[in-house]
Amino acid sequence: MRDQGSGEGLDAAAGHGDARPALPVWIGWLAASVPAVLALLFAGQVPAVAGGEPLRLSVDWVPSLEVRLSFLLDGLSLTFALLISGIGAFVLLYSGAYLGGHPQLGRYYLYLLTFMAAMLGLVLADNLITLFVFWELTTLTSYLLVGFDHASAKARRAALQALLVTGAGGLALLAGLILLGVAAGSFEISEIVASGDLLREHSLYLPILVLVLLGAFTKSAQVPFHFWLPNAMAAPTPGSAYLHSATMVKAGIYLLARLHPALSGTEAWIWSLTIFGAVTAVWASVLALRQTDLKLVLAYTTVMALGTLTMFLGAEATVAVAAAMTFLIVHSFYKAALFLIVGIVDHRTGTRELGRLGGLARAMPVTAAAAALAAFSMAGFPPFLGFIGKELKYEGALAIASEPLLVASAAVLANALMVAVAAIVAVRPFFGPRPAMPKPPREASLRMWIGPLFLAVLGLSFGLAPSLLADLFVQPGVTAILGRPEEVKLALWHGINLPLMLSLLTFALGVGIYAVHQRLRAALAAAEARLPLTADRAWDRLLDGLKTLAAVQTRVLQNGRLTNYLLVVFVTLALALAGSFLVFRDALQLPAAAPGLLPREWGLLGLIAAGALLAAGTRSRLAAISALGVVGVGIALLFVSFGAPDLAITQLLVETLVVILLAVLMVRLPGFGAVASGGVWTRRRDAVVALALGAVVTAVLLAVVAAPFDRDVTAFFEAASLPEAFGRNIVNVILVDFRALDTFGEVAVVMVAALSAFALLRGGAGRGAPK
């Protein structure tokens, strides 16, 4: 744990050998100004959007696939866009100080900005495919951010784990989105959300829901996919603050909110979101208490917040959705602030271990103040925004008709643990006696503390002016999530009611937990050590299992025996062809009665069949070659009979050459008897495979011939042969004119074969002369 704790910043810089000059500070300000300008632009749209006028922008991208680059700015996407760009500006500014002097700081800016662009595209997209493309881009860029410290095996593992888990979820999501688009008849999200009733009745509803939820749950780290998020803390702290407060992990939440009007309201939706959310919230709060690394504590509370949001999005009630929307904003403020504060502590003292920190308030007063403000909001004390969020959560939980008790108790438990965690994060490091730390603590620079302080103050000011937040963000957001106009009022004081009682209970519980948290942690650590399997270890086993499976499969399928390879190919082909008849049942038919064969043609057919059977059955090489000749000449005569003299000529020539070459070769090689044939049973098995493949090929050919014939292409060649290519032999014209490039390729193939054969023949005795 210790090695993970100490500042990736300055120490890492020393580890890199290249002596590139450090980036000048103004580059950091420049980079931060990009999101800052964006945030201002988005803020300019707030009045219009809050007034109920969503903005749409649309450009054709791949019109044939109904993919449009269309964007929508409504209450939900605007809130997200503001959080992403606003927090992004502070994170970029902060990174410049945190990673100051790091040789790859420029790269880090690039990753952050790319990630931000992807995230903005994701929340603004109004087309399912556009959304998916940006979704995957956030996966890729977060891989780069988590694995930024690429010299560390731990960071690499965490990055790969995040990539694989969210990438796998992304694949499921793609399938779900395509089904959704097909079911709704449109890929434009604003059209899809209008057809919710149709979708809920649709036969594809359940597959769509399962696939979309898989995507959302992996991205938003719901149990059992939660394990990648704490591991992703291997990222430098500013990246973690950004990814895990308002952006990356909230993408899944955003998706659930965005598709809420289209998919919500069914039993399946309500129960899966409520249960997964509740389990995640409680389980993550418990795990948060167990950690000693400040950053991991925050990581698990993030998982808890994501679970809470999922749980509330499962509901239909306005107040529940308003609770989700408010908590989303509250959480972004205090979580980003706290992550950045932990980064400051780590940067300035060299450790994030709770046991080694204390009494920092005197040395770092600004940071301590910001931490206290953010922690009050997190714990939900009045008059902070967190208090309003929490009251609303309880009100929302009680309003959920189906299972108020489950949701309310999960919310109370999670919030009580949240109070304890807030105290652990904000009280323990800053107050009490000061132990010896790796570095003497000093106050951080302005670039570092401005972000957390601003966000923490925002949490306080919105708490004092809740109606502003309600009118500008929560109400438009709730309207977008529910797909119908809603009115939401937020207030600090609701009078003495059940939510207030629950709040008091929460504080009491939280303080109680804080009082005994060290003993609790020891007990939890002991319990965890006894767990037979954690999700993280299960992940390792899964990967090991995949590797073993790949090895076994390779040993079975690719065992170095030619006959085995061929057997696999032939059996697969036979099964694939036979399988196609299962799908297209009515294709299996005999062609309509056609003119019969003439007696001489029957004779030819019999001759060819007999030749083939003789070639397969004989033990004599000479007989086999002669039989081949019979087959070849028979086919040439068939060509003559069916109006293909050119083919007949070529076939005769080639067959003659084949027979001669084979005969010449045989003279130099031992007879068939020199190689033991496989056992009787092996050959019987081969015969079965051969007969099966022969039978399905016949069936496929019959089906092809029975289908109506389209002679368009041939008609074109017949009409164009003389006027355009000046040739009277249509076959020749096709070869040398219309498909001249193919013929050129054919000549090249023959030439390459001849050259290779020549090289093989004169390659000298080499290493392996006959033994």
Binding site: L662, E746, A754, K771
Partner: protein, 135 residues
Amino acid sequence: METALAVLVGILVATSVYLMLARNVLKFLIGLVLLSNAANLTIFTAGRATRAAPPLIPEGLDAPAGVVANALPQALVLTAIVIGFGLLAFALVLVYRGYLALGTLDSEAMREAEPEVGPGARSGAGSGAGGGPAA
């Protein structure tokens, strides 16, 4: 008559597969010849075998007079025959060369590139000498 041709193609495929699954690479070669014949007949039959005049345009006309045989599959098959021959010629030489180098026609015994994997042995370990005489 297409039914009869389809059955014939099935027989050719079955015999060629049976031959190609044999351990003797010479039999494999004979199977290869039969398989390319089967493939050519498949294309030909799928383009509808008609007992019609060859696809030629008589003097004085711009297009064939009356119904002629389908020219397109003929062109495809013509290419396929030649390529099949190229492939076979190369395979013949390869078999011959393989026999010179390894002293056997048994494909089971040709384990230079992918040697038998014993328990605990790592695949590819035996091919240290690398490459055949072709290299």
